[in-house]
């Protein structure tokens, strides 16, 4: 998912303190997907309640939000709307891969290969409508605002930052930079360790900040050229041209000015048509967004939270209570009034 631009974008290591009192817009699908993939038992089975309902996302969302608020960061979650028609192919492909992973997972389990089972199980995770609805309910109970995007969540999040309603986008994807968010925050996680995929090794991760305009300067390209670079490499809306990674893409775009010239020069037959390029470009440069949102934070509703998490999903009440303490900074935040 997302465009692989990491190697080109210089990031600055920051701490939660640098984000004090800041509003961060989080791409909900991006984090829910992470939670569903990683919050699993050793053999890859997702966390479930007694009725067999998955609870990984609720656990992740609750702990992540608690941790951000405890650090005086104000999270807003943005949910994807209707996927754009151009994304359908990508979605179909993802579904195919998911079905395959489900088969592989069962095979691995039968053979007793738990390591492989876990990896395969991670690839089966899917953000369903039910998961989205449960997540929204949890956020409402926690007093944390969320926004429904008309189309892509990343686009809505970037728009809110550009408009000056939030400080930055919190996501692992770089797509928000293509859409023009001036600030991207990565690794907004509570744990400072992350398991390397497929290995028994861990790396320390820290929150990182990436500034769009400084990056463009460093690369010596414009925003539009960055989008062209991404289309060459492949985005959620098109397959890239084989053999073109970030470095080569940058070089080609700088030399030829735009993607149309690059394609005319190298004459690739896997390249998207100019008409499709135009459409994809406008997805990034003029995406559908909405002003229909209100950002306010309030204290979690303790009774409802205990009912929702403990009665329905069997979270331990003790654990809920101790996590609730982390929401206390909201009280302090509420004391600060706004101008309008």
């Amino acid at each position: 998912m997302g465009v692989k631009l990491g190697s080109l974008f210089p990031s600055e290591q920051i701490s939660f303190k640098d984000l004090h009192d800041r509003i961060i817009v989080i791409d909900a699908y991006n984090v829910l997907h992470q939670f569903l993939a990683t919050i699993r038992q050793r053999d890859g089975t997702a966390l479930k309640n007694a009725d067999g309902k998955i609870t990984s996302h609720l656990s992740g969302l609750f702990y992540r939000s608690a941790n951000l608020v405890q650090n005086k960061i104000k999270p807003v979650y943005v949910f994807d709307g209707k996927p754009h028609e151009l994304k359908q192919e990508t979605i179909d492909e993802r579904n195919r891969r998911r079905l395959q992973a489900e088969k592989d997972w069962k095979d691995a389990l039968e053979k007793g290969d738990t390591a492989k089972a876990r990896v395969k199980a991670q690839q089966t995770s899917r953000v369903t409508e039910e998961i989205v609805a449960q997540s929204k309910t949890l956020l409402e109970i926690l007093g944390i605002p969320y926004v429904q995007a008309p189309e892509e969540g990343e686009a809505q999040a970037s728009y809110m930052v550009r408009k000056g309603d939030a400080y930055g986008v919190g996501s692992q994807d770089f797509d928000c930079l293509l859409i023009g968010s001036p600030v991207l925050i990565r690794n907004l996680t509570s744990s400072s360790k992350r398991k390397l995929p497929g290995k028994k090794a861990y790396v320390k991760v820290h929150p990182e900040r990436i500034y769009l305009n400084q990056t463009l300067d460093k690369l010596g390209i414009s925003q539009k050229q960055l989008v062209d670079m991404a289309i060459l490499m492949g985005t959620d809306f098109n397959e890239g041209i084989k053999g073109i990674g970030p470095k080569k893409s940058l070089k080609l775009i700088k030399k030829n000015g735009n993607i149309e010239n690059v394609i005319s020069t190298i004459g690739s037959d896997e390249a998207p048509t100019f008409e499709k390029i135009k459409k994809i470009r406008s997805m990034f440069l003029n995406p559908k967004t909405t002003d229909d949102y209100e950002l306010s934070w309030s204290q979690p509703d303790e009774q409802k939270l205990v009912y929702f998490l403990s009665e329905k999903y069997q979270f331990s009440e003790k654990r809920i209570e101790s996590m609730l303490k982390k929401f206390e900074p909201i009280k302090e935040m509420k004391k600060q009034q706004t101008l309008f």
């Binding site: 004090h20 009192d21 800041r22 509003i23 104000k74 930052v161 550009r162 408009k163 000056g164 309603d165 939030a166 400080y167 001036p182 600030v183 500034y211 305009n213 400084q214 463009l216 300067d217 414009s222 009280k331 004391k335 600060q336 009034q337 706004t338 101008l339 309008f340």
Partner: protein
């Protein structure tokens, strides 16, 4: 067309006022000078800043908007030492600001101003008004920042006071009418404010300059002061904190 020359300090004042609040800002340039207005994402503080053309050594401009990334601009201005004469020219073909510092020419890409906000200044009826030497307020805020994250500003017809309370320590700055450059207050006014915002606000203030504070009860404050050798003017609005419900 936009072509201006100014001492580095003038531009650094502009950066100090704006960059703590926003990443990107729109400079409204006209033949009279530069004006900008910025609100922080949390909508707690707003700054309206004008630098008259007389603050510049040279200034020629048509009406236009320049979209500036403040972190980037601040980074470039760190290359200048105080006293340096900085030249700014707008390159309309490439939409860049050409910044010349000594022999160094730095071309800075500007941001598309479409979609950038035009915040409206809220009207405030504030019964209290005090004119105080900036050095007093700076000292009070500095002292308070060590012990708390908020402080109270209050005034009545005879007195102006700043008070902060930590777990064990307190800070109190009290100035009677004869120690102030001006004081008018209809009754008692008191509001609490975040020290983070206040200390950012006072950064560009010259300690010898007077500072005008308008105050109400649990209401935003409006603080006005001069920058850029009195050829620039800042109006700073800051929303209050409310004591526990």
């Amino acid at each position: 067309m936009f072509n201006a020359k100014a001492k580095a300090e003038i531009l650094k004042d502009l950066i100090d006022v704006t960059s703590p609040l926003v990443n990107e800002v729109k400079f409204n340039v006209s033949e009279k000078g530069i004006n900008l207005r910025a609100v922080d994402p949390a909508h707690v503080a707003m700054v309206d800043l004008t630098i008259e053309k007389d603050a510049f050594d040279e200034f020629k401009a048509d009406e236009m908007e320049l979209g500036v990334d403040m972190d980037k601009f601040a980074g470039i201005m760190r290359l200048a030492s105080s006293g340096d004469s900085i030249s700014l020219t707008y390159d309309d073909k490439a939409n860049r600001l050409v910044i010349q510092i000594g022999n160094l020419v730095r071309k800075m890409a500007l941001i598309d101003t479409a979609g950038m906000p035009d915040p409206k200044m809220p009207t405030l009826e504030l019964p209290g008004k005090v004119v105080v030497k900036a050095s007093e307020l700076i000292q009070g805020v500095r002292a308070s920042e060590a012990i708390s994250d908020h402080l109270a500003i209050s005034m009545n017809k005879d007195n102006f006071e700043l008070f902060a309370e930590g777990d064990t320590d307190t800070v109190n700055l009290s100035l009677s009418k004869d120690m102030l450059e001006g004081l008018t207050s209809n009754g008692d006014c008191k509001s609490l404010f975040s020290i983070d915002y206040l200390s950012n606000m006072i950064k560009p203030v010259k300690s010898s300059e007077p500072l005008t504070i308008h105050l109400g009860n649990d209401n935003p404050t409006r603080v006005e002061f001069a920058i850029a050798n009195k050829k620039g003017h800042v109006t700073y609005l800051l929303a209050p904190r409310i004591e526990s419900e």
